[in-house]
Symmetry: C2
Amino acid sequence: MSEEFCPVHASIDLLQEKWVLHIIRALLAGPRGFNAIARDVGGVNTATLAQRLEKLEGLGVISKEVESTMPPRTRYELTEAGYELQDVIASIDSWARKHIKLDETGHDIEVVAG
Amino acid sequence: MSEEFCPVHASIDLLQEKWVLHIIRALLAGPRGFNAIARDVGGVNTATLAQRLEKLEGLGVISKEVESTMPPRTRYELTEAGYELQDVIASIDSWARKHIKLDETGHDIEVVAG
DNA sequence: GTAAAGCGCTTTGTATTGTCAAGTGCTTTG
DNA sequence: CAAAGCACTTGACAATACAAAGCGCTTTAC
C-alpha cells in the first residue's frame, strides 16, 4: 500500500492550487501588502487570498512581516526557496507569449502552434 | 475599463486548474488512454478527468484519437504546443527536487532553502 | 475639519466545482 | 465462464471559492 513519495507530484499539487502561481508571480516583482497582492492578482476574493497566504507562509514559500498593527501594514515577500520559483514563472511566461492568443471573438483563449 | 489582455495571466489561469499540470506531466511520458492517465495522475475522479481532457483538447493542448469504439480504445497525446510545456514541468521538477521534503511526521510537506 | 479612501483582514451566506459510487456494453485475459 | 479492463456518463453529495458587508483606525483630499 505504500505510495512512495514523489516531490514533483507534491509540488504540482501545491502550485496548481488556485491563485498560488498568480501570487508568486506578483511577489516576484517585489514585496507587497495584502491589498496590493489582491490587485496584482486580479479577481481573487480576500477570504481565499488570506488562506492561501497563510498556507504558503506555513510551508516556507513566503514570509509575512507585520510592520504596524495600527494603521495595519503588512509585508509579504518570497523566501529564498520561494524566489527560486522564478524559473517556473519564466518558463510559463515564454510559453504563454509564444502560444496563447485571443480568438476572433476576443472573449476566449486559444493555444496556437506558432 | 479595458482590462488589457495578458497571455501570461491567462496561461496561469489554465495551468492552475486542478489536475491540468498532472495530466500534462503524464502525457509528456508518451501518449496514453483515459484510464492510464487516471492512474498516472493518481486520485483524480473520472468525471473531472473527462472534463479536463475535453477542455484541453478544445484549447489545442492535447489531441484525442479514437482508435476503436468497441472495444473502446482512445489515445490522448500532446500537440506540438502542448509538448512545449515540458520546460514548465522541467523547471517544476528541478525546483521540487531541490526544495520539497517530507516533514518529521511523514504526512506533510515542507519547503526548505537547501 | 470633515468626508472619503485606504489598510489588512474576518464573517456570513450562496454559487460553483470537484468527488464518490455505481453502472454501461463489450472484449480480452485467467 | 467468471473476472478484469476499456472509456466514459450519471446523479447525489461535499468541499471550495465567491460576493458583499463590515471592523477599527490613519492618511490623504477638498
